[in-house]
Amino acid sequence: MARHRGRGMASINYPIGMNLGGDPSQALVHSNPSGKFTVALSSIDLGQGMKSVTRQICAETLGVPVEDVYVDTADSDTGPHCMGSFASRGTHRVGNAVMAAAREARGVMMEAAAEELEVNATDLETDGRGNIHVKGAPHRSISTKDVAIAAQFKQGKTISGRGIFLVPLSNVDPETGEMSPATCYAHACLVAEVEVDDETGEVAMVRMDSAYELGRALNPRLVEQQLVGGAWMGVSHALYETTEPHYPDPRHGPRDFVEYLMPGPGDICPHDIAVLERPAPDGPFGAKGPGEMCANPVLPAIANAIFNAVGVRIDELPITPEKVLRALHAQGGARPQPRW
């Protein structure tokens, strides 16, 4: 009786946004008289960082510091329509809508600044620190606060913008399945290393190494949070979780977190992640979305690692100790495979 180490890998891609498109999102951006901006959305922050990503997109597009932008979501009386926070669509769809709204607001802001500085708006640029100045002449400058005051109280202009992003709906051929499902795809490859106990059938995670291609990591900390958390959801899906332990027999379903198995702190292993950025032509700053796909390669990588460790294939999830033991028994014991 022994513990066997093995590793397996899987590679995947993932479509961004609702399949076939047809899922619009809108955004409104406006300035208050102090040159601080509000983004009004009806999109939902589930904990994934919707507010932060759209805030950074808005600040970058306006050319103002991120501290000068606040995202207000989600109120159906003030936030314009959004299809919802699902289908890995937040960054891509809502981000594009915010970008469009911020671009329009920036146009007004630059016109108002041009009027104050008595120059042409096309000769102006933002410094990202709250100032607008003449290109090549930083001393001819005005703060966004002064621009906002002038626009509001002197020029009678509203520094605001509207944005919508829509991938037009496409349809599906009933006979061939021909369709345009998505405009861009994220990619990933993950290696899982496991240790399988051939006496108990238990599988322990040893480490994970992965590479994710996401278009652009708009906020690497949020990306990390998604990828680390998502991988653990994948581990849990592969080895622990089910609402119906004897599926398709629905009986004996868990009712709380005592009965519903998930990995705990003691089951965590190191996970080294590399992020690649191949910008999507229609992504905001090229971004795609890491939301959903990060759990997907983990499941098969673990199943493949178990094969590498002890030579059994478990094709039914979750891969419980019982299933591993039964398979080992049927095989006549562990048959470790060569390590790649």
Binding site: S42, L46, S52, R221, E244, A274, P279, D282, P300, D315
Partner: protein, 533 residues
């Protein structure tokens, strides 16, 4: 640990941005870590009533009689709600985008189709009084045979789960019980393949397991409006669903949400809002309806289980020449969103690989279990499990390094995908190379040099002749390039030095080209099934 590999695809990016790319702390972080962020359930309204539902104890039964008389007299009870009280008791979520038929009641009337299906709602002064009244609701069931297995459900003579779909399968394009994908000739390719591998994969239903369970609080507002605090993942989707079910104009509702304690797809179904609002309408008081943890786990929708059969043909040199898929999505008793996932899954077949012959039939099947819904990776997670386990087995079968096997078969820019669109902006090969490097998994130099941007297209861009179609079609015309597509131009400058990529073994004969399909003329859209586009 996260490492940004800025060196890869560097020529396709500008990295001179100021706010983008920074790990700025979240705007809502302080509130979250100090427990002061406001979630829907933090709205404590004076005079709030509590709504609980009586659920079916049978997976499939006729409701002979539902007697609520004693429950209505129970202390603290303000209102008992039945199906007849719901203005439009039958709905399907995707009807908002014109896909599918209304098939699910808010409260069951004649029949229950899964264990835990709501039958009666009790609105009371306190949760305890609601529970006590629930125990006094008398339901006379006539149990019916239940069908729980997806393949059993499709057999002739199987119990009918949902009368809206009498054959226990969602109807695509008005007459198919599945969504098809046809690309090339798998049977011919199987006949030529060196190895055939056919396998069965079974996913398991799982719980979204959010910290915050599904719930909402609805309260009468001025001007005949209702304010609704909700945990929904899709504010307007839920608002419009409620407007339909309650048969009022959408501006009757003021939905407030946006800070949600985890969703993962489990908060799209608008489970609590319609009854909470109806309770507020019928009592004139704020009504709170929140799922308990057991309800969330067993009767809140799970990720549906998929059963997937894969049959692949592979050559000795590692090229996959054919992939055939038959898959069953277990939708449970009602459609919810599973019908959509089937189409998304069809688009995902055969995974991120260029395979010249692909055939897929995917079914959305009704069974007597809790309706399934969206979950992270919807329509794809299960298929990826099956495909990537299969890829490992195929690599083993032909004696190849699994990393090199992936790179060899990976799709590249310019390749034709099975849903007949050109692959663009691909990066699978680079992900495999970097993961191999990180894990110190050896791959040979020629595989390290391969690129998503090189050696795609050409013969790999062709749409093969497909049985049932009049003839081979020409490759899709070159799509418009945008500034982000600079990588393609770069690859044109560089002569290919690497081993040639796999080419389709049976190159399609350029037979009489058929005109491109006339979308928009006569076909029904799959997702928008009833609308002629």
């Amino acid at each position: 640990m996260l490492e940004l590999r800025k060196d890869i695809f560097a020529d396709e990016r500008d990295d001179d941005l100021k706010e983008i790319g920074k790990g700025t702390q979240r705007q809502d972080m302080l509130g979250h870590v100090t427990g002061t962020s406001t979630y829907f359930d933090d709205h404590k309204l004076q005079g709030t009533l509590h709504l609980k539902v009586v659920r079916s104890t049978h997976p499939h039964a006729r409701l002979r009689r539902v007697d609520t008389a004693e429950a209505e007299r129970s202390p603290g009870v303000r209102r008992v709600i039945r199906g007849a009280d719901v203005p439009r008791n039958l709905n399907t979520l995707m009807s908002l985008i014109n896909f599918g038929k209304d098939d699910e009641p808010s409260l069951a009337v004649d029949k229950v189709r899964y264990k835990g299906e709501p039958i009666v709602a009790v609105v009371a002064d306190s949760p305890r009084e609601a529970y006590e009244a629930m125990a006094k609701v008398r339901i006379d069931y006539e149990p019916l045979p239940a069908v729980l297995d997806v393949e059993e459900a499709l057999k002739p003579g199987a119990p009918v789960v949902n009368e809206t779909y009498p054959k226990n399968a969602f109807i695509y394009h008005d007459h198919y019980d599945h969504q098809k994908l046809r690309f090339g000739d798998v049977e011919r390719a199987f006949a030529q393949a060196d190895h055939i591998l056919e396998q069965r994969y079974q996913m398991s239903p799982i719980e979204h397991a959010p910290t915050e369970t599904n719930g909402s609080i609805a309260a009468p507002d001025t001007n005949g409006r209702y304010v609704v605090y909700t945990s929904t993942q899709a504010l307007f989707f839920s608002l419009d669903t409620c407007a339909k079910i309650l048969d009022v104009p959408s501006n009757t509702f003021h939905f407030i949400g946006g800070t949600v304690g985890g969703g993962f797809g489990g908060k799209v179904d608008t489970i609590t809002e319609p009854l909470a609002i109806l309770g507020a309408m019928l009592t004139g008081r704020p009504v709170r309806y929140v799922l308990g943890r057991e309800e969330e786990m067993q009767y809140g929708p799970p990720r549906g289980a998929e059963r997937i059969y894969l049959k692949d043909g592979v050559m000795r040199d590692g090229r996959i020449v054919a992939r055939k898929v038959r898959a069953y999505f277990d939708s449970g008793a009602y459609t919810r969103l599973s019908s959509y996932a089937v189409v998304k899954c069809t688009a995902h077949v055969p995974g991120p690989y260029t395979i010249p012959n692909v055939h897929s039939d995917i079914y959305c099947v009704f069974t007597n279990r809790t309706p399934a819904t969206a979950m992270r990776g919807f329509g794809v997670t299960g298929m990826d499990f099956a495909i990537e386990c299969q890829m490992d087995k195929l690599a083993h079968l032909v004696g190849m390094n699994p990393m090199e096997f992936r790179i060899l078969n990976a799709y590249r820019d310019g390749d034709m995908k099975a849903h007949r669109r050109e692959a663009k902006n691909t990066a699978l090969i680079e992900c495999v190379q970097v993961a191999a490097e990180k894990a110190k998994w050896p791959i040979r130099d020629e595989y390290k040099r391969m690129s998503s941007r090189k050696d795609g297209g050409g013969a790999r861009a062709a749409i093969p002749s497909t049985p049932g179609e009049p003839g081979a079609r020409p490759a899709a015309p070159a799509p418009q390039r945008t500034t982000y597509d600079r990588g393609l131009a770069a690859s044109n400058r560089e002569p290919p030095r690497e081993p040639p990529p796999p080419s389709p073994p049976s190159a399609p004969s350029p037979a009489a080209p058929r005109p491109a399909p006339a979308h928009g003329a006569t076909r029904f859209s799959s997702v928008f099934g009833t609308r002629r586009r």
